[in-house]
């Protein structure tokens, strides 16, 4: 074969655009992770494909990583949690990954209320594939594919998660790093069940509508008197979009988690229950 070029020099890390909202997310996540006291060795970061989904590779301190298929982070994470529910399983995903290609898993993983912490970098656009509309794109958003603008109702992940009794549902935004980190920390500290954190994230390359400024002007931290266990109130908050966007913990439920209900898991995680013959590698 002819001489292969060496591209290592050009392959700078992270592979994100300067100014991208993924940077503050990475920073906040690293901070929250450190503060949470989670053990990287006992943590798996699971992602699909997209710009957001690259985050696990950049995390300090490094963790275990399962960077799977576009749209399939949740079933992979579910399999990992089933196999070893002593592991902390964290999913980091994009709006296309989670609500588009992965929509069916989103519905059903929340129904299971399996113990996953799910962070969705919601930039309301497909970043990695260069700017098509995503399920959360605002109506009227014009792209090379949506030449007459988006015509579908934006998907409301928070409302769906609330309807399904998700353990914890939150929204935050890269525009406020303190709020971002605090919300992430709260999510990481959640003891049981499915946790959804939808993070409004500017994409400086492909979304000129929902910018840092646009989000920042609209973010309205949820007042402390909000009772997150009140489903209808939570839904009312989840529906707010436009001039004011509530951020913070919108909903909580006391539903038991998937793991806690499985009789076969009562004696410990599956992975510890395998009679291992030998450790020799087969030749």
């Amino acid at each position: 074969m002819s001489q292969l070029l060496d591209l290592k020099k050009a392959d700078t890390i992270p592979a994100w655009c300067p100014g991208c909202g993924n940077f503050p997310i990475l920073k906040a996540f690293s901070g929250a992770f450190a503060e949470s006291g989670l053990n990287p060795e006992k943590t798996v970061l699971v992602s699909g494909i997209g710009q957001a989904a690259k985050l696990p590779h950049y995390l300090e301190p490094p963790c275990n990583i399962f960077n799977g298929l576009h749209g399939r982070a949740l079933p992979a994470a579910t399999g990992i949690k089933c196999a070893n529910h002593e592991l902390e399983v964290i999913v980091t995903s994009g709006d296309g990954d989670m609500y588009g290609e992965g929509g069916n898993h989103f519905i059903h993983a929340i129904r299971r209320n399996i113990g996953l912490k799910v962070f969705v970098h919601n930039n309301q656009v497909y970043g990695l594939t260069k700017g098509q509309a995503s399920p959360t794109s605002d109506e009227g958003f014009v792209t090379r594919i949506q030449t007459h603008g988006v015509m579908s109702t934006p998907f409301n992940p928070l409302a769906l998660a609330i309807v399904e009794g998700c353990s914890m549902v939150a929204r935050t935004c890269t525009g406020d790093p303190v709020h971002l980190k605090a919300t992430m920390l709260e999510a990481l500290r959640q003891k049981e069940g499915f946790v959804l954190v939808d993070i409004l994230q500017p994409c400086v390359s492909f979304n000129q509508i929902n910018t840092y400024k646009w989000y920042k002007e609209r973010m309205r931290p949820i007042p402390p008197e909000h009772d997150p266990y009140d489903r209808m109130k939570a839904l009312a908050l989840a529906f707010q979009w436009g001039d004011s966007i509530p951020t913070g913990i919108i909903y909580r439920s006391r539903r038991p988690s998937f793991e806690s209900r499985q009789p076969v898991l009562r004696q410990g995680s599956l992975v510890t229950r395998i009679k291992q013959k030998t450790l020799e590698q087969h030749q």
């Binding site: 591209l7 275990n64 990583i65 949740l74 089933c82 898993h105 395998i274 013959k277 450790l279 590698q281």
Partner: protein, 561 residues
Amino acid sequence: MVDVLIRIAGEAGQGVVTAGNTLIGGLSGMGVHLLSTQSYMSRIRGGLNWYDIRVSDRECFAGREQADLLVSFTNTAREVLSGSLIPGGLNLHDGEASDSANMIPLNAAKLAKELTGSTLAANSVAAGAVFSLLGYPSDALCGYLEKLFGQKSRELADANTKCARAGHECIKKAGFWERLHAPLPSGSVIGHIWSGAAALGLGAATAGVKFATAYPMSPSTATFAWLAEHSDQYGILVEQAEDEIAAVNMVCGATYAGVPALTTTSGGGFALMAEGLSLAGMMELPVVAVIAQRPGPATGMPTRTAQQDLQFALRAGHGEFPRAIYAPGTVQQGYQLIRTALQTAHWYQTPALLLTDQFLQDMEKLVPVFPETDKPIDRCLDLDAGAEYQRYRVPATGGVSSRAIPGGKALVVVDSDEHDTAGHLSEDFQARISQQDKRMAKLAAMQAEALPPEYYGPDTAELLLICWGSSYGPVREAVDALNTSGRSAAMLHAAQIWPLTPDAWKLRLSGRRRICCVEGNQTAQFAALLRETGILAQAETLLRYDGMPFTGAEIAERIGP
């Protein structure tokens, strides 16, 4: 060879299978060879289903077209199926007598009601009647019923044995004792009744599978249900997935975390798993899928059988990665090969598929106790890996890296993108080449260990019938029939489809006058693979794709003179 085929037929929902199970269960204590097959429509009530039991003094491997005895629960069953009786065959009919000479009326429900106040034990009446026709005493049947119902309730056990005896008596009284020429009981034929579907479940459970997930799809569901029913016993977490994509990706996740896992599906569901299979190839995960075939394309014939997904299983998934494919030919091979599939997947850290089909899934057989019960496979893990661990270090030969799992000192990084030795996504051309070479290097080692074809028949047979998977039984019986009628035939059966072992195959091919590939599909998919791999340039083909399995007699007849 003494060989009786009993066909129990009626509508879906009438308990045809339950009746069949009662009968074969009773017969299992008689010391005769037993094999059952099923034919049913895609509906929950009505239609016409049947359950065939072969009772023989020699081991059976397939069904037969013609029955010695038709047990009909409805007039439709009688009308449609009495044409499939052998000349002089009998019809035990649930209804009033007719003028037909071969018809033996038996109102099992009425008799049961009279005796026990309920129709629940009607199947035992029918089973007793069949025992009588076979000239067997009712003791073995009653013993079986005693065991089956005794644990649940004394009354139930008594009612059933009473009914069985009554059915037995009533036929005897009517003068039909031993009207079927049945094999003599023999002390050496002992064991349990296992279906192909259940044998796969048991093989997986004993191999150490601890996580099973699937989306229901005939004819794979029986294996999944077996695992669910035995989940507490074996400590298996069984989770119904929202779709097949979820199932295969969950298995990817579970195997990554160190738990032997599998999924079961049929062709249409497997089609949805193709991307996930490619993921397992890229991440080097020991993913195992059972594909229970049925006639396609699309929804096709959901309750019928086929061998149509060989080529699809072989190429499914984009990109190039190694895989192993097994196709058991018998119930026992099902048990063995699901274990082999799991072990191969773990040795080589790559997906393994097992092709079965409706015919084999539903086939039940009296088999000796499975030999390796309780020996789990070796997961081939490096549980001591430390902080310097790299998941995809390239070994000097063979392509297999040491495999750690998350939770220990080693961080385990796996990626669906092309990656470096540490598992991190990389756009480097050198990394690409070395990782792709590493993955594909496993195939040569897999080939060196692959199962050679099984040869059955005289060494120098002139006619060689090649087959794979569930056609084993019919072809083997055809070989016996042909040789009995003075021909010189043998079978060459592939229980492993990929990789093939060309040398072992070629050894068996030379010097034949005639070679014919017998397959349950229309395009002779295995013959194509033999051409592609340079094993066999040309062969006759003998194909069937109406949804029904081959029989030995059919093959023998179609082979012609």
